[in-house]
Amino acid sequence: MKELSLHILDIIQNSIAAKASLITINIVEDLTTDVFSIEVIDNGQGMDKELAERIKDPFITGRKTRKVGLGVPLLYIACTRCQGNLEIQSDKGKGTKVIAWFKHSHIDRAPLGNMIDTIIAIVIGNPEIDIIYNHRINENEFNFDTREIKHILGEVPINEPQVISWIKGFLEEGLNSLNGGARI
């Protein structure tokens, strides 16, 4: 994938398929340690330890329409190519945590790309799922939580076009200031 934000969108699809109701995305860009890390944590149905170990290998998948799962292996390859790695922790019935990390300055590391589009796409298609998105760059942090938005909206659905526009603006402002005012 051309952007890490597309990998994130894809890894979140696994959480959605696992019937998660809450998905947390943690991104940390630490220039002192030169690490770019991504966590996707869900409270979905999880998988057993053995499967969690095996899915990095592209010839295993749990689903029936096609024989190989692509999402996890693609991210795994992207990580290892950049002196990073991928770890999957899962508890059957409780949830899954996918941790992917890269050497921040590695020449082959894809740019993060458009996280706003990734978050918006998830919210539009899955209004019933709650999303927490925390993004830290060195010591600055941005936090987003759909539960707070839904609390204010009451009966108005979060995927209402006008609400989506508001969320987009909110994310734009938050991420711009996180990037030191530079446009992203």
Partner: protein, 122 residues
């Protein structure tokens, strides 16, 4: 600054229209979002559909997403479900094709034949 107050305003403004809509069956536009779909460009397709719905103030259309439709080679795939009509599957979509599908099929009921899976297979 995007404030919570703005969000409160949106809630007040949209509350009535939402109650009106509850009992009407609307059109569902579904975008395939498996790995193959995302890699082929499903994200801009989904966002373009949403923008077009907002632009035209289409109150009775919902955008949804699904996993693998099983035709990776034809991604991005968009399915349109209109009440009382058969599902139409559009393949190899991009943002501008998706906008055309919203304008012609969703809004005017005119299927864009050339983008359908049937046209692709022939």
């Amino acid at each position: 600054m995007k404030s919570i107050k703005d969000l409160e305003e949106i809630r007040k403004r949209t509350y009535d229209t939402i109650n009106l809509r509850k009992d009407q069956p609307g059109t569902r536009v579904v975008v395939g979002m498996a790995t193959c779909g995302i890699a082929a460009g499903a994200r801009p397709v989904l966002l373009a559909i949403m923008d077009e719905i907002k632009k035209n103030e289409l109150a009775d259309v919902v955008v949804a997403q699904t996993g693998c439709i099983g035709m990776c080679r034809l991604e991005p795939i968009v399915e349109v479900y209109k009440p009382g009509e058969e599902k139409v599957t559009y393949v190899k979509m991009n943002a501008s094709k998706a906008i055309r599908v919203v304008n012609e099929h969703v809004m005017k009921g005119k299927i864009v034949q050339e983008y359908t899976v049937g046209a692709e297979e022939n």
